[in-house]
């Protein structure tokens, strides 16, 4: 059997070692237009089954959600500038933090990396033309939109003030649009399940011949592990919110104490989903970081198997740790012990990854680029955030920290310092592949610094606020907490500016950036073997790959 090679290209000029030098313009193969140009018109986008276009649609949806969630964050931080009322009353403030949480968790963090980059790259990375169920893929986008619309309607129709955690009995008795919101989140959950189902089946069935599980790019493994959690955990969220909804609207209460219900059972049900959910948020970012580290250091991962085992370990053990949200909730002491110990185990898998990433750099030939700056920020912010997680998993320490700003700082370090950083790294890393153009590295560095510094000054003061005792979701606070709150708000403004800068220069680069070649980073991973941007069906011929995704010793294909 002869190997099929893509049509020959004109001889390439020597590729400079550092990507700051201008890249040569490469003509696209004339046999097929790229996926942007393949079909024209709005209908071809809205009714597409091309996984790459669906990824772009998700990018639009999740980016808008990030902006909206971010606006609520800025508003609440402005309110917290003074100990008493600054701009709004307590009820409105409660809506700010609730909407911020709901939008960020369910409309941004959960769908973003799988929906955008998972959709775009997973099929290419396994040699497939598309996902297993392309029309279901489009459906999952529209289900996302419908869920988002329901949620946004709730915001307009009076808003919700329960916090994103919907604890009963407050959520079932408060006069706010709980019914609409739980519908919206339920539907968003359906979208998540459909996406996960699609990815699982795709990885199982559409790998090209000869591509075994242990040859898959690690990003694919991480999306796969995420998909398992999405499929198994999200139904429980749907159930718990549906129960809140029917109680709120029709008084069909199952957690009401006066009817014999137990509010703590709601917490068990809710956190059974919501703890694995945080792994849905971070595992894809781990996948991005692995790709970034290997590609820019031109090194294979220190241990491929360790990274795979760690991802699967997180997916499995992550289901067993939910009680660490409930140490002071009224749960038994014994249960608290069990959940605390299991939480320590799940932390070890992340530690394995951090060790592996660091060691992968060793002996590499590292290019500096915006994604590597985000990676550097990630290594500090995520590790510190993760260690603060180990700290709150220590039961006695969680007693003073629970429901204070310490916990808020912990999860923002992981979610912003981890997932958002991973998202930004992915955006830059894959920008040339998606658009066929390069962004400005100078502006990339500026915005990476603004984002990282802004983030640090937003949330580091919150660890100290939590230590001092300031509870979460507090509208007014004792005056001695003010200076830390002001510092935090200042940091948030810088973070916001950094994100605005990012969007701006990336948008400019879409139209004005210099054209990028097939593989500007000299990566060995599979997506860099197709044109930039890829054609509609990803491959001009059925791919035959002679070298692996991390084979930095083989000749480039």
């Amino acid at each position: 059997m002869t190997d099929i090679v893509p049509p020959s290209e004109p001889p390439r000029p020597p590729v400079p070692r550092l990507p700051e030098e201008p890249l040569p313009t490469l003509p696209l193969p004339s046999s097929e237009p790229d996926f942007w140009r393949a079909d024209r018109g709005l209908r071809s986008w809205l009714l597409t089954s091309d996984h790459k276009r669906i990824g772009i649609l998700f990018l639009i949806g999740t980016s808008l959600s990030l902006v909206l969630g971010g606006v609520f964050a800025l508003l609440l931080r402005i309110e917290l500038l003074t100990p008493e009322r600054t701009i709004v009353d307590a009820s409105t403030y409660a809506r700010f933090f609730t909407h911020h949480g709901i939008i960020m968790v369910w409309m941004f963090m959960i769908p973003v990396i799988p929906g955008v980059f998972g959709n775009f790259f997973l099929p290419i990375m396994i040699g497939a033309k598309d996902v297993a169920f392309p029309r279901l893929n489009l459906a999952s986008f529209y289900v996302y939109v419908i869920g988002a619309v329901f949620t946004l309607v709730a915001l307009v129709a009076g808003g919700v003030d329960t916090g994103w955690t919907f604890y009963v009995p407050y959520s079932t008795t408060t006069v706010s649009s709980v019914g609409w919101v739980v519908c919206g989140v339920f539907i968003l959950g359906v979208s998540s399940i459909l996406s996960g189902l699609n990815f699982i089946v795709t990885v199982h069935t559409l790998r090209i011949r000869g591509l075994g599980w242990m040859q898959l790019p690690l990003f694919v493994w991480n999306i796969y592990a995420t998909a398992i959690i999405q499929v198994l955990a999200t139904p429980v969220l749907g159930l718990s919110l549906a129960l809140v909804g029917v109680d709120h609207v029709w008084h069909l209460g199952i957690f009401e104490p006066q009817y014999g219900g137990d509010p703590i059972l709601f917490q068990h049900l809710f956190w059974f989903y919501s703890h694995p959910a945080v792994y849905i948020m971070i595992l894809p970012a781990f996948g991005v970081i692995t790709e970034v580290v290997c590609s820019y250091s031109h090194n294979p991962p220190l241990s491929y198997k360790a990274l795979v085992a760690a991802s699967l370990g997180i997916a499995f053990v992550g289901f067993l740790t939910w009680g660490h949200h409930m140490f002071v909730a009224g749960m038994s002491t014994f249960d608290s012990g069990v959940f605390g110990a299991l939480s320590m185990f799940v932390a070890i898998f992340s530690a394995i990854k951090v060790f592996t990433w660091t060691a992968t750099l060793r002996g590499g030939s590292i290019w500096f680029s915006t994604p590597i700056f985000y990676f550097f920020g990630f290594m500090f912010l995520f590790v510190f955030g993760g260690m603060s997680g180990v700290a709150v998993a220590t039961s006695s320490l969680d007693v003073p920290w629970h429901d204070t700003y310490f916990v808020v700082a912990h999860f923002h370090f992981i979610m912003v310092g981890g997932t958002l950083t991973g998202f930004l790294a992915a955006l830059h890393y894959w920008f040339p592949k998606i658009t066929g153009r390069m962004y400005s590295e100078r502006w990339g560095l500026v915005s990476a610094m603004a984002v990282n510094l802004g983030f640090f000054f937003t949330f580091m003061p919150q660890f100290l606020l939590g230590n001092a005792g300031m509870p979460r979701r507090y509208y007014t606070y004792p005056p001695q907490y003010q200076w830390l709150n002001v510092l935090s708000t200042a940091g948030a403004s810088i973070l916001a500016i950094g994100l605005v800068i990012t969007v701006s220069y990336l948008a400019v680069a879409c139209w004005r950036g210099p054209r990028a070649g097939k593989n500007p980073w000299r990566s060995r991973c599979f997506e860099w073997r197709v044109p930039s941007p890829p054609p509609k069906h990803n491959f001009l011929e059925t791919p035959r790959w002679k070298s692996g995704a991390y084979d930095y010793h083989a000749a480039e294909e």
Partner: protein, 214 residues
């Protein structure tokens, strides 16, 4: 049947029909996993509340009419048999007979729903309604109220799935009528059958918890 690659159909990423069918079957199993977790949440709540109110759960369970529950279990098991039988018939190249078998599934499913409606109406007449609407004076304790609330939620969610399953059966009958399923290629029938079996299995777990107290 020719491999799908020969058919110009943009949406299909498959190399051949076998790959497509493998994907669809796997997809259905993954979906069933999801559905299992959905019901598992309610079973978990049942376990939690039963541990809290053991006696009242037992008393309330005794009040449920055991004969309706048991007949319903029998009805669903038989309907599952007919769903599997339909696949067997299709494989034997007897699509018309398979249609009748699926029709039996629908009939039995409707019987199930009918018996449930009778049961619900009996309960409601006695004042047994969920949560804040509960008015049954003979078992006024909170534990009994909680049992019946869970009863309504669990059987209600199950009934919704029965209705969904019956809709799927109707669609499968249509497919058979249009000749879209053949002896070699009938993956949609298999998927529908799998779904119906899940619906049956969930009931088999509900039945002892809700009807067979001593």
């Amino acid at each position: 049947m020719q491999p799908l690659g020969a058919i110009v159909h943009d949406e299909n990423p498959y190399a051949d029909q076998a790959q497509r069918e493998h994907a669809l079957r796997l997809g259905m199993w993954v979906f069933l996993g999801s559905e299992t977790l959905l019901f598992a949440g309610l079973f978990g709540l049942y376990a939690g509340y039963r541990a809290r109110y053991p006696e009242q759960f037992a008393l309330a369970g005794m009040h449920n009419e055991e004969w309706i529950g048991s007949v319903n279990t029998f009805v669903l098991i038989v309907s599952s048999f007919f769903a599997a039988w339909a696949i067997h018939l299709v494989r034997g190249d007897r699509p018309r007979a398979a249609m009748w078998s699926l029709g039996a599934v629908i009939l039995l499913g409707l019987t199930f729903l009918g018996l449930k409606s009778v049961e619900y109406s009996h309960h409601l007449a006695e004042g047994i309604a969920p949560a804040s609407y509960y008015r049954y004076a003979e078992l006024p304790e909170r534990g009994a109220r909680m049992f019946f609330t869970l009863y309504y939620f669990m059987t209600g969610l199950h009934a919704l799935h029965v209705i969904a399953g019956l809709t799927v059966m109707v669609w499968l009958i249509t497919r058979l009528r249009r000749g879209k399923a053949t002896a070699e290629h009938h993956v949609e029938l298999e998927m529908g059958g799998l779904y119906w079996h899940l619906v049956d299995i969930v009931w088999i777990f509900l039945w002892p918890l809700l009807y067979l107290s001593t």
